[in-house]
């Protein structure tokens, strides 16, 4: 496997409170994440855990406060020329959560795809763009493509709109698609269709996908590797089956036990946890999960646990986990 993208100590803080409060919200702290070619990696966490901030950092919506992002070995901070930036944005497009607000209602479906093609594929002429637009719409499972392209977003269902989101991304011949909660706004019966589509895109177009979700079951269904976030840190990462089959971090264990599973009997002992994910403002050292943690020891109050290898390729940031 070849490495496609790597973050090193990626950190993003936001100012909160009044202008002079000096307080900072630590949305993402010290995240090391690698994404390999043709890999689907799931980033799992509750709202406020920092997973969407990572997506925006990778998409260069935000600049990192500290740390760096290396794309094919090159730091994004070095991309100064418009041409380089454009190339990166074409290689790493984003698919958004809400298909109802991410397509412009005033334009036909083809508008968004064509704009992307004009910007990122200047080699194509008008006929080539039309052919390419039809190809990507068909690749996301919408037929007949020529007719779909002429429609307005209101004529499409939520699932179809989200497929258009993927078609737009696909038109750039991407290497990595950042999919930020792409199915959470969709109905249950059509979610699986989109998850299957993402798996197909990896097979056919050879893209990597960063799948950001709070739904650990869909992460398991789709991904090769999973990283669990809590309070701005990655607290556990590894091959999906290892992490979910044998979760090391108490937070991953809590998350797994809370997933409703109609096929399993109700376990009355779990999920009495009433805690909330923290808003990490000017944190002191220490584990950010300790207040909710059933296993917390004194050391957790004073020392921030770092990710350490607990099994092959499987890491957790916990002083207690073995």
């Amino acid at each position: 496997m070849t490495e496609l993208l790597r973050t090193r100590g990626l950190t993003r803080h936001f100012k909160v409170g009044g202008t002079f409060s000096g307080r900072r919200l630590h949305a993402v702290d010290d995240v090391d994440l690698t994404i390999e070619e043709r890999e689907i990696i799931a980033l799992v966490g509750e709202s406020g855990s920092g997973k969407s901030t990572i997506a925006r950092l990778l998409a260069r919506v935000y600049e990192p406060t500290a740390g760096e992002i290396l794309y094919r070995g090159r730091s994004l901070a070095q991309l100064r020329r418009r041409k380089d930036l454009l190339a990166y944005r074409g290689d790493v497009p984003m698919v958004f959560q809400d298909p109802f607000s991410s397509l412009n209602p005033a334009y036909r479906v083809k508008h968004g795809i064509m704009r992307g093609l004009i910007l990122h594929r200047p080699d194509l002429d008008a006929a080539g763009r039309q052919a390419e637009a039809e190809r990507v719409v068909e690749a996301v499972g919408l037929h007949p493509a020529a007719e779909i392209l002429e429609r307005y977003p209101y004529e499409l269902s939520g699932g179809q709109r989200q497929r258009i989101g993927f078609a737009q991304a696909l038109a750039y011949r991407p290497k990595l698609i950042i999919a930020d909660e792409p199915v959470s706004m969709l109905d249950v019966s059509i979610r699986i269709g989109l998850l299957n589509l993402m798996a197909t895109l990896r097979e056919d177009a050879g893209v990597s996908i960063l799948y950001i979700t709070h739904d650990i079951a869909s992460a398991r269904y789709l991904s090769d590797r999973v990283a669990v976030m809590y309070g701005g840190h990655i607290v556990e990462a590894g091959p999906t089956e290892d992490v979910l089959g044998e979760p090391k971090h108490p937070y991953t264990q809590l998350l797994l036990s809370a997933v409703p599973d109609p096929r399993a009997p109700l376990d009355p002992d779990v999920a009495l946890d009433r805690g909330e994910p923290p808003r990490v403002v000017d944190p002191a050292p220490g584990c950010r999960f300790r207040a909710r943690c059933p296993l917390a020891i004194d050391r957790c109050d004073v020392e921030t646990p770092l990710l350490r290898d607990l099994a092959p390729r499987h890491q957790a940031a916990c002083h207690v986990a073995t």
Partner: protein, 326 residues
């Protein structure tokens, strides 16, 4: 006599063309202290049905047929004045998005006081006492009576909404997707809490959700709605263990599991139909994997299947139809 008895309810939205029938011949009964789950996709009419039951519909939606009996009184024909005597005292509603349902510029305490004074006469001390009591009940520190909604987390806001619905200890609490804005951990905690409160106070719950797995361990009865109709209803365990309708089976198969082997799933192809142009036959037929030729022309009624009911020709109690193609 059941607590709530809905019979043949029909709700139409007036549109420029033909009216859209959002709720079509829905019947359900809720006993004292029972937990009834209503599941379906967006646009299946589950929220409209709920609003109709609580008489909260506003034009262009209108109840055109059927009855909603609460303790034997028909709510459909009841005057607003009479309704106001029942609302909040005897049945209350928890809305979907606590963020939008709570007033952002009033404190939680002020909103509780509002609800109390609108439906009864209380002194200041009584209001405070009752507000503190219900907040404690849902596990929120009473100090938050002086908080504004934005100072609470999503889970706390949702629990404050539930506390507000319990101010008068009603017999029935109607909940419209109260957990959909929450994370799994908070979702699970809220469900467990609703169940605990229910056991303690004995109210009945009608719980609408799009997430079938969420109610699997909590509801007694389950209704599956599709395109305005009930397609399957029965005891929750029966519907989960032996789903009779192809749509219920499809919904169940649309959930990836966190346990057991990883299997490829298909979901349900296609999308829900346009309610203003209902199909001639079975409404699920265009998406149905086991449809027969006659499904396109015959409207199936609800057939009894063991303790459950299913709106599918394959469940018709006729011998030559009994064979289910697999």
């Amino acid at each position: 006599m059941p607590l709530l008895d809905v019979q043949h309810l029909r709700v139409e939205y007036a549109t420029a063309g033909r009216p859209a029938v959002a709720v079509d011949d829905v019947s359900l009964t809720v006993g004292e202290g029972e937990f009834v789950g209503v599941v379906g996709e967006s646009g299946c009419g589950k929220s409209t049905m709920l609003f109709a039951v609580a008489r909260l519909l506003s034009p262009p939606a209108e109840i055109t047929h059927g009855s909603v009996e609460f303790r034997g009184q028909n709510l459909v024909t009841m005057a607003e004045k009479q309704l106001n005597l029942l609302r909040w005292r005897d049945f209350s509603v928890v809305m979907q998005s606590a963020m939008n349902a709570l007033n952002p510029v009033a404190t939680i305490g002020a909103q509780f006081a509002d609800a109390l004074t609108a439906h009864g006469k209380f002194t200041k001390a009584e209001i405070t006492e009752r507000s503190v009591e219900v907040l404690r009940m849902v596990g929120i520190d009473p100090i938050h009576l002086r908080s504004h909604p934005h100072q609470l987390s999503g889970g706390m806001r949702q629990r404050a909404m539930i506390a507000m619905a319990l101010l008068f200890t009603p017999d029935l609490v109607i909940m419209d997707e109260p957990t959909s804005a929450l994370d799994v951990v908070a979702q699970r905690a809220l469900m467990v809490q609703i169940r605990e409160l229910q056991a303690r106070l004995g109210f009945a719950v009608v719980f609408v959700t799009h997430d079938m797995s969420l109610v699997s361990h909590f509801s007694d009865q389950l209704l599956v709605m599709y395109a305005g109709q009930v397609v399957e209803s029965g005891p929750t365990r029966t519907v989960f263990d032996q789903p009779a309708h192809p749509y219920s089976r499809g919904l169940l198969d649309a959930f990836p599991s966190v346990r057991g082997p990883r299997v490829p799933l298909t979901g349900i192809p296609g999308s829900p139909p346009d309610l203003s142009r209902p199909a001639e036959g079975c409404r699920f037929q265009p998406r149905c994997p086991v449809a027969l030729p006659e499904c396109a022309t015959t409207r199936p009624p609800l057939y009894p299947v063991g303790p459950a009911q299913s709106r599918c020709l394959l469940n018709a109690p006729v011998e030559n139809n009994a064979e289910v193609p697999s």
